[in-house]
Homo-oligomer: 273 residues x 6
């Protein structure tokens, strides 16, 4: 689904057979001025989506952005000025904010994690634990907050998990089978201990995911195999745990909660009196 | 978009041009058994969506539910047993969980709020602050958690907000205009003080939304107009504030955070060894 | 389906793999002038749909409207002037007229009914007996003709019919169950006699539909319960019966034939020589 | 749009976010028996569409047809028996009837015309004046009533109208241009007098449409050119005029009102007590 | 599917979740100039499709065509000049060329066949052996190369094949049945010998298709029935056989390989340094 | 677009408003037996697509496959047996063959190339020069013929072409920028001489594409950098050139003509008498 389609369907969801209140009020086609205002500190993300939502409802609406995606905003700051018929603005408002607040919430949470690992080489990755149909937007929000994208889906990278290994018999067997077909994609293997990690290294895959290892185990893995293979840590990544994980020297830390358990950033559309 | 379409698009988002890992592993069509397991206490919601996700990937998968939507689950409890080809299950897993964890997260958060206001007459309502394209599922999750649905969109109820009032000139004028056209829908008016509230009551609308009033103001509103009109409180509804609001005697409390700032419930698909 | 989609699909239905006649004639891109002309008296409705149909075929077509939706037109009057390539106009003509003639037919029939009940307080309502996929347009045509819209579908109002009552056991039981869930929608109950009507009134629903009652029964119902509840009459509403029904003093009269058995208004596109 | 898609969209139009009444009544999954009953004499048409509508709502519904498309039904006769959950039946009922009543209305009106011209060789044709998006169904209904289909759209036959002739310069020039490209489609030319008719015959087209000719003119045309070319009469075809037109000996009579100004056939779904 | 939809889906197929290379390069929005250049002699076809592909990616791209569809191009000749952001051009390039090269390939192959039969009256026809979803474009390319279109699908002409004849019992029976329903479409009958051909002629169908006849048989058929019925030859039509077939005097020669076994014309987008 | 959608749209393209011939013949619902027969030697590919096409037209059709994708077939061999109503089979036949013949044509051409390079380590890759909307099927056909898939689109691998290099300033700068963002995808760089190749190697990218190099240059590149980086040769890959290219020792040879200039494999559906 393209972005334009996504917005169209979101508007259809909210408008259905039409905005009764505005229609029945016989509102005159009169201009209003309104501001998108941050009600909380955070990282703004999703301005193009919000803009396109207003445009779809009414292409005559004017939009002046004071911020751009990735900017830090303070509570009370104006993000954009919007002018147009009040009926158009009331019809686009909720959908635009539903996108903007969620994307800014993800960007903000990502940014908070990233601040904590700046001194270390570890990069923060997202996961596939995204909201159905919004993955592109949510992964964009992660990048906006300073994170990096892990694979977008099952189709653009090879990830050999425990279950695949069990089905194939061993890491070596699984990797060999994959390599018989694969010419274009990176291969990552999930490992749970140093033996498996060594097997992955020996098989020359691109990356390992250290699953459910504690800090000591991770540290040991980095000490032995650091530099020989990309290492990703996954599991129990929180604002209060991430720095210690990064301090082990791993290359990547991936976190599902960036996209599955964030708070929307509080943003309002305030009409000028 | 129908539920079947929604699931199909979510699967397409994740599978794209195909699951590389499974395809390149030449996995035999062999059966596996797996369990959906709660990793946290909560209210389960979305089992039909999860089930249909597996069915779309492979109609030969078998599904035995141990729980039904609305059931409380304890950490470690099995929610459902699923049997089928491991390749099918690995392809459906993430999408099914992405739905199930979000819906259960909303149901759980709703349930937590509802527990706190059980002694009072107030009903907990959701809002239109839902995830674009998932509104039906999220509003269903609110009902599953014991909440009630406010309007589904701009098309099924009339809500006269501050801006509408300003555009029309007064509450009375706005209501009169609406009533000239409306024969089928309830009318709610947003009020910010007792004078406006009285004007709404005089105009015989169905409900008022008390906006940004503190507890004393709400209490006074209830004392004077209680029983004459439905009263809904909105704004700053949190787990630590909701009981005091309910105690004022209002009829409805609406909360956007139920759907815009919840945590996904932690649920895993565990393959049996 | 949005209006733009609806028009696109209608054009696709007529144009298919292309307008053979125009294509094979190698028509020069030359301008023509044509007029939409009423061949019958009536109420015009659907001008925006017709306009958008021409625009979809060729955005360079010019359109000057002499009438607006809801205007009465006399046989022979011009409704709009259209200028553009003759090939574009020949391709849009039939689809534009298919919409415009149907919508004007409904608006005209509605207007004829409304004229007859003007002295009374009764409002004329439409029903769900609309053409599949055209409900929004047909309900708009009813409003254009001076009628009012009943519910748009099963999703925006609660209507307890005989069958629901039977399944629940009684009107009282049905209403009680509904009220346990419902916070946003009006409730209407279908009643067939005064006993049921009284039960509905006692249960404080919003409206009753008097089904299959004759004029005397309706009159008696109004005499006893008038003002206590909204009353809607349904069934056998025709141009020769509606005035007598309105004279009973009911609040609403609903008629399916407005949208299921109207004649298209005769309108032509006449090319200027 | 396939038939399945059409029905799905029609159901979505009516069900929207869900059937509130049924959902809020917590109706038990209990079977009901209902009959489709004719409330008027007529020709039944659209049973497959109605059947598929019920199936889409609930594949467990049972359907026993007593009639088939094209059968004459008498007021009071049962058309089909339907068994299933009452909730399923209440959700499919209106959409199924909206299709069935319209299609039967067209079939009935067509049948009435056809009865009047049985003694003559003339065949009754439909036109492109059909309801947007329902053309296939409406043209099927015309066939069901004993009529024949004219072209389905601009893409499957060549029809040179007055405007095309004017743009090309003459009938001869228009036909010559068309024949340079056309190898697959029949060519029909609209003519308004005997001179034009002769020109069409000389150019060996497949059919002429006699436009706005009175009965005498049509008779003269048939006398002179009958058998040399197919002749179609169009315009002012009504139940009280069609026999006289057929009596002139023309090959085809085409009527737009079959599909743009019919009455729905009155059919009800009656639940058994 | 409309052309705009087709292009949109083709772009989506190639762009998926986004052009990684361009995005990660942080390319400045700077203009480039590029030329579409023929790398082979041929007939150009599909310029509008290519143009619209660039426009969908970025409406600010400028396009100056040096050639029009149907023009012969020499190796090395410029076909069009395109200016715009290099990122936009790199994203549209492959899809635009995928359309343009295929359509030009078909037009070129068609043109080569047509050159060989110019002295004869036979017209070259395409078939339904087209690429799924691209039939309109491919049939347009055949016309562009000087060929003619056979039917577009099963819906716009009647073709009685051997199997239909066998099912009906005889050519005469099959034609009679068809004529009972058909008023709008041409009828073609597949025949394998002179007896069948005579039966088709006697039944006054519009065309016969001589199936699997050798040159002598075709010649005999033309000698006996030429002028009485349109004759189409099908099967084994190649560049080295077509002239001999045309020389028999048949009216039509149809060839599937025009659309199922052509080579794409080599065309490149060359960026100006 | 899913495979089911693709087939549905292909059928719609061919069937449009319905198969006239079959409908007008009033064919009885009688069973036929037919065989898919190879009329040429080749590699069969696309059996599932063909099967699903028949199933979509009529789920009661029976299908027995004698071959599976990738099997070599000889001229005259049966590929599958199909039984069902002749009307169903005649409606599915053309679309099923249009898919099957194209996919088998690609698989066959790929297989022919692959035979020639078997003694060498080079793997044959496809490109993005595929038919719009059929890329998944065509890339599957390449794999079926023994080839390997290059990237599926712009979204799953990073390919730095000449133009990107020029825009960024140098290979080094381009790679550096990419690496700042990229964590998941392989990076390939297009190089035209040894200096550029060395720069690519120094920047530790995953693969280089040797563009427009002659055999001597390729050989020299392999001698110097072989084993240090994956090397892909592109351009002028034909059946008579591929062996010499492979003999240089490169890792990959990519060929656009596999998917843009193949011949359909001749396959027929023969009905049993």
């Amino acid at each position: 689904m393209t972005l334009d389609n996504l917005i169209a369907k979101a508007l259809q969801e909210d408008l259905g057979t039409g905005d009764l209140t505005t229609a029945y009020l016989d509102l005159p086609k009169k201009d209003t001025v309104a501001h998108l205002v941050a009600k909380q500190d955070g990282v703004i993300c999703g301005l193009e989506v919000a803009y396109k939502t207003f445009m779809q409802v009414d292409p005559s609406v004017r939009w002046i952005a004071y911020k751009k995606d990735g900017d830090l905003v303070k509570k009370g700051e104006n993000i954009a000025k919007i002018e147009g018929y009040s009926s158009s603005m009331l019809q686009a408002e909720r959908v635009a904010l539903n996108f903007l607040q969620r994307m800014s919430g993800i960007a903000t949470l990502t940014w908070q994690h990233v601040q904590l690992i700046k001194p270390y080489k570890a990069k923060l990755l997202d996961t596939r634990k995204t909201t159905p149909l919004l993955r592109i937007l949510e992964k964009y929000a992660v990048r906006t907050g300073g994170g990096y994208n892990h694979r977008f889906g099952l189709y653009d990278m090879i990830m050999i998990k425990e279950n695949h290994i069990r089905a194939a018999g061993s890491i070596t067997e699984a990797v060999n089978r994959i390599k018989k077909h694969n010419t274009s994609y990176k291969i990552e293997v999930e490992v749970t201990n140093l033996t498996e990690l060594k097997e992955a290294v020996d098989n020359k895959v691109d990356r390992v995911m250290l699953d459910n290892m504690n800090l000591d185990q991770i540290k040991e893995a980095v000490d032995i195999f650091g530099g020989l293979i990309e290492m990703e840590v996954s599991g129990n990544v929180k604002l209060h745990t991430i720095e210690a994980i990064a301090a082990t020297g791993v290359d990547f830390i991936s976190s599902g909660s960036l996209t599955h358990s964030y708070n929307s950033l509080d943003i309002s559309l305030l009409f000028k009196e």
